[in-house]
């Protein structure tokens, strides 16, 4: 990667750290500690399932909220505050700025998720007293959650390149929710007829398929995940994010800064 993109990414990460974005980890740690102690007392035999379900769902929600709220401001805030002027007055191409900001937030989310995942694994160790081979699925589930963040960040960036921060947040949340039920949308498309079928099929394939990226249930029951699903999901998420970031770049390249 070129050095200007890395410099911008590193600065974006530094901003997130200094703006205390990672403080959410404190809440997360409290939630996990409290949750696992409580679960250890009230559930018999299913402690593991409850801890994994609760933990991974929390990791996913915390991350999505951060991805959307920081993602929509990544570029628009810099335009608003005019910090962008002095950056673009350097030999920085506009696409380098967008890509750098995108990677900066992805790095932030990876670090955040890594720390939260440690919390989940510790809680798991606390209730189950040992980690097993089946717990590898938990790691796969966490990897898929990171892929979701990559897609959500790219979408937030794309929406914020043409709409207001509030509308971008609403759009990104809406797409996240629709994407979570992508399988149902595909099922609906398969059942319907005529124009509805065409429309629903287009919508189903346009929306990111977050359902395929959600293996929390499998992780909770320690079921293995097929190797080709890991490969397919990786390619899918990266291509989807690439398309969204490319869209954001195309819009931003022509934009007159106020």
């Amino acid at each position: 990667m070129n050095s200007r993109v890395l410099t911008i990414a590193a600065n974006t990460f530094r901003e997130a750290v200094r703006d205390r974005v990672l403080y959410n980890l404190v809440f997360f740690a409290l939630l996990m500690a409290g949750g696992s102690i409580l679960v250890g007392q009230i559930s018999i035999d299913i402690e593991r399932q409850v801890v994994v379900n609760l933990g991974l769902t929390a990791v996913s929600l915390f991350g999505v909220v951060i991805a959307i709220f920081i993602g929509i401001g990544l570029v628009s805030k810099e335009i608003e505050k005019r910090t962008l002027y002095t950056v673009l007055a350097r030999p920085v191409r506009r696409w380098e700025f967008i890509v750098g900001k995108f990677f900066g937030l992805v790095i932030t989310l990876v670090v955040n998720t890594f720390l939260m995942s440690l919390g989940v694994l510790l809680a798991l160790l606390y209730v189950a007293h040992k980690l097993e081979r089946g717990d590898l699925t938990v790691v796969v589930a966490i990897y898929f959650i990171v892929l979701q963040f990559v897609v959500v960040t790219a979408l937030a960036l794309l929406f914020s390149s043409f709409s207001s921060p509030l509308l971008s947040a609403v759009l990104a949340f809406a797409v996240f929710i629709v994407g979570t039920f992508a399988e149902d949308l595909r099922g609906f498309a398969a059942m319907s007829q005529g124009v509805t079928r065409v429309g629903a099929t287009i919508a189903a394939y346009l929306m990111p398929n977050f359902a395929a990226l959600n293996v929390i249930a499998e992780a909770a029951h320690a079921k293995p995940v097929a190797g080709n699903l890991i490969l397919f999901n990786t390619v899918y998420a990266l291509l989807y994010a690439l398309a969204a970031v490319a869209g954001a770049v195309l819009i931003f390249e022509r934009r007159n800064l106020k």
Binding site: R4, T86, A89, P91, R254
Partner: protein, 313 residues
Amino acid sequence: MPAIEILGLEKKYEVGFLRKTEKVALKPFELAVQEGEIFGYLGPNGAGKTTTLKLLMGLIFPTAGSARLLGRHWRDPDVKTEIGFLPEQPYFYDYLTATELLEYYGELSGMDPTAQRLRVPEVLERVGMTAAASTQLRKFSKGMLQRVGIAQAIIHDPKLVILDEPMSGLDPMGRLEVRDIIHSLKDEGKTVFFSTHILSDAETLCDRVAVLNEGELRAIGVVADLTAQVGGKVEVVWQGEKAKPAVEALGAECRTTASLVRAVLPEAKLDAALDAIRQARERLVSVTPVRATLEDYFLQKLGRKPLEEVETR
């Protein structure tokens, strides 16, 4: 080779939602700034100064025309390794310290890391910010931000420095220091192109100036040539009050202090005023030509002062 060549740049905006009307922010014009010059870009607020600078830096796109910077095509991103830019009322990442900010911009400009380590403290000293080197920018005053702004514009030792209102927000001492920095940049052989509406700054600093009004280039030249176009004025001082109404009738501004009357009037009316004083048999004390300033030029050619700040200074 000119440092900046503006070749018919034009910027129009569409305003309104349903019934769109076109607003011209900048009418096409040609302008060349030579290497090693300090060039002042003057005009009242809203004249199109900032629009021009933003066009040059590629922050907005023109509706027509183009430009050349340091002999290269203006859209070539690499030409910016040799250009420093200070935007109007700059705002920077406030979670960074002054040193970190300069390092960030140095890296983006492709500076060598070792050169950069030496350069950052040097530039901070030059703008008088050494004491605040490791303070986060969120704790900075407006004047301090302006100084850091100048520091970031020169961190990578550019050949061409473009400054948008570099003196705004500074106290008189700070303005003097910025003037010194601009002078020293010229001594180093750099080209400085800056916009301002504070005319005294332009008069003391600039080799040449361009005057912009309502998006239109009105004049380019040496300050002395521009002020020479303004009809000269003279100050007449005499003793006695009787001639005052007659002199005032000639369009002079009269002020009485003790027994002396001072009148400033256009040179062409001097004979008539002297006649009036002689007829009243009052004693003439002095007749002095008054040097025209850029402010007179603005008042006469544009029909207004460049801004409010002139009075408050």
